[in-house]
Amino acid sequence: MDTIFRSYDPASAQRSDRSAGDRLRHREKVHEAIRHNIADIIAEESIIGKDRDRVIKVPIRGVKEYRFVYGENVPGVGQGGPGTQPGQVIGKGEADGDAQQAGDRPGIDYYETDVSLEELIDMMFEDLELPNLERKHLRQIEVEQLFRRKGYRKKGIRIRLDKRRTAISRVKRKKAVQRADAFALRPQRFPFHNDDLIYRHTVTEIRRESNAVVVCIMDTSGSMDTMKRYLARSFFFLLYRFVCTKYQNVEIVFVAHHTEATEVSEDEFFHKGESGGTFISSGYRKALEIIDRRYHPSLWNVYVFHCSDGDNFESDNPAALQAAKELAEVANLFGYGEIKPLGSGYYGSSMIQFFSQLEAENFQTVQIQRKEDIWPSFKGFLSRERAREDAA
């Protein structure tokens, strides 16, 4: 009889992780798929304003394996108990694959993968082909940061003594002495000499700290409803996260305005609503004041973004334009986002047209109508920064 038994070999079991390469490639594909679907994921309400360590379930649609298969109008056969009756519901939709014979239906080949918000955001910004926000020299604060090794020296402090190299150099000296004095074979003490001592040398490195502040200005007048605020909030969230990836030290300031402007907490910013009209200039003035007092442009990179529904008192427009000009002067990037949800029913005045008079190269206007617009608008907004850099 020709039967062969091969015993279990733990060593080969450890070596033979044969699927490792394919798993790695699959994971790369998953990441690709996430990146591909990022606009959809951003449009999902759930990621905005949530805890950064939160794990998000991202549905993956990119790694399905397609074939010609039958669609939904295909009956199947199952086995039931004696009481099975026509009309009885036996399951949800396409069975999950494992109950079925493998490969006979598309099933839901859609599965979720866990990604932390942090990871997701990194991926998003990788996708953006980020403008490399090189900060102006003045805007960096130099900080003595770390000590880096740089070679060896004969002099130094005790704590940096390199014992190994010291011992080696003593051995070398000993050999040299023995060779020079071949006949003097008497055993003798051969103590360390000062010349044997070798110290590690270190230099102090200066790290350039970079600071940035994101000034979020939002119209909190009566016309800004929940949907508009949600869209605004999503945009602010992206901007803040983006700036965080570029600078060491990022602060965020919230300015809420209707006819008057106040600096508020994050919570108030997003949840408090006022009634009444709008003076956009008030928000800009407040922002200018805060920047001047706490975030002087010589030390800070300033990003200002203003969200409004474009409804402003006519009489305030010249003042708003003037303030916007001033803001554009102090900010790296100043943006105005007009939020007009589709089906919001009215098309009131638009500040976008009015602001077209403002000719500052770091000023950008975007219009957001739906959740799906946020990511493209955001990309568009940053492209201005990029264009500016390219020109520089």
């Binding site: 109008n73 199952g78 519901v89 939709g93 079925q100």
Partner: protein, 477 residues
Amino acid sequence: MPASFTLEELASWNERIFAVAREVGLEPYPQEFEVCDHEQMLAYMVYSGMPSHYPHWSYGKSFEKLKTLYDYGVTGLPYEMVINSNPSIAYLMRDNSLLLQVLTIAHVYGHSDFFKNNFTFKSTRAEYTVETFKAHANRVRMYIEDPSIGLEKVERILDAAHALSLQCRRNLAIRKQTQEEELERRLEESKPSADPFRAIHRRKEYVAPDLNRVPLYPEEDLLLFIRDHNQHFSDWEKDLLTIVHEEAQYFIPQMETKIMNEGWASFWHKRILDTLELPQGMQIEFMVRHNQVLSPARGAINPYHLGIKVWEDIEHRWDHPTPDDEREFGPRTKTGREKIFEVREVERDASFLRRYLTEELIRELNLFEYQSRGGDQVVSRVADDDNWRAIKETLIRNVGTGTVPVIKVENADYNNNRVLFLQHHHDGRDLHLEYAEKTLQYLHHLWGRDVVMGTEINGKKSLLSFSEGKLSIKPLH
């Protein structure tokens, strides 16, 4: 966890099992068993049991999926994994109990006998299986490592080829005709047939056949057709298509005989273990395990269960025919044992169920038909007088390659523009359009030009065409 058995124990059990298997008439290939751990088993499952297999991300995906299911306890691992090769290779999981190993060994001989004797496997060249897969793997790796080709390009071809790999001939026992034979047949067919009433009929005119048409007859082997007719392909691209095609052909007989094969192996492991006179502890465990494997799946079909039921039924009916049976099949000339050995040689799942799944069995097993309705799966028919036939028909359509739509290349020069024209042979089941779109995209990538496919959507003849990166659907009038 230390194994609860020694190799010597396995060998001695194997000797007894093998002796019984031979005695009852099984003719398995020489067998090799390899003891592995569960991670290795997962990997073997993913790579269809092959000791070596070419790399592709989809195997990584299945591994992750299987491992997740396993880790969360959604599914267990199979007790056995056996491949159709000569010698046959099977894997035993070291964490399993001695009884499970004994059961598995007996089960494996059932499979191996089936592989060796069922007609659908005649085309698989079992003695070269392991070497063939290894050679494929080496070639694919070579292309990946070739700096002028690389992973990305190889992957693009493999992705597309995988999508189409099952679009091939299903009955491999019928030899594929060569180009010359097809030409000959075309010419032969165009000749007017002999007419015994020539004297009174007008003579049929000879119509010259169109011999320039490519293909001469609708072609089912999509990958091979593209390989042979896309002139822009380089050798490595052709080779990749050949590899994927060959591997698919190797697995088609297994798809085609899943129910028979699992039923056959279960039927014999039961018989063999019953004759082994197991010690009492093992006997109890055997009954538990056997029932686990063969328990009917709720709401689905468990091929082990359905298969063994039909095999047992055949044997029983041939040994103890009822008057009805006699009337239908004539007087018995074979014993039950003889009959099942004959059936295991000459049938595949579709014919097996058509011939031997009786009304009584359909009722006994409480088979029902279900359909999707508004996101739910709803029972549409149960096995009563009016419906058992329909249920049987539905079941037969859903086994083996019956789940793969039949699609043939009709014309490689559609509109005189080298557009590839395919026809889906619609049988009441519509294609899944999202899947069709993506698959046509792959086809487009391989063909390098536009692709058009005739099908039927909601009862309307329609034309799907893939060009300029997107699918358009045109109803035909």
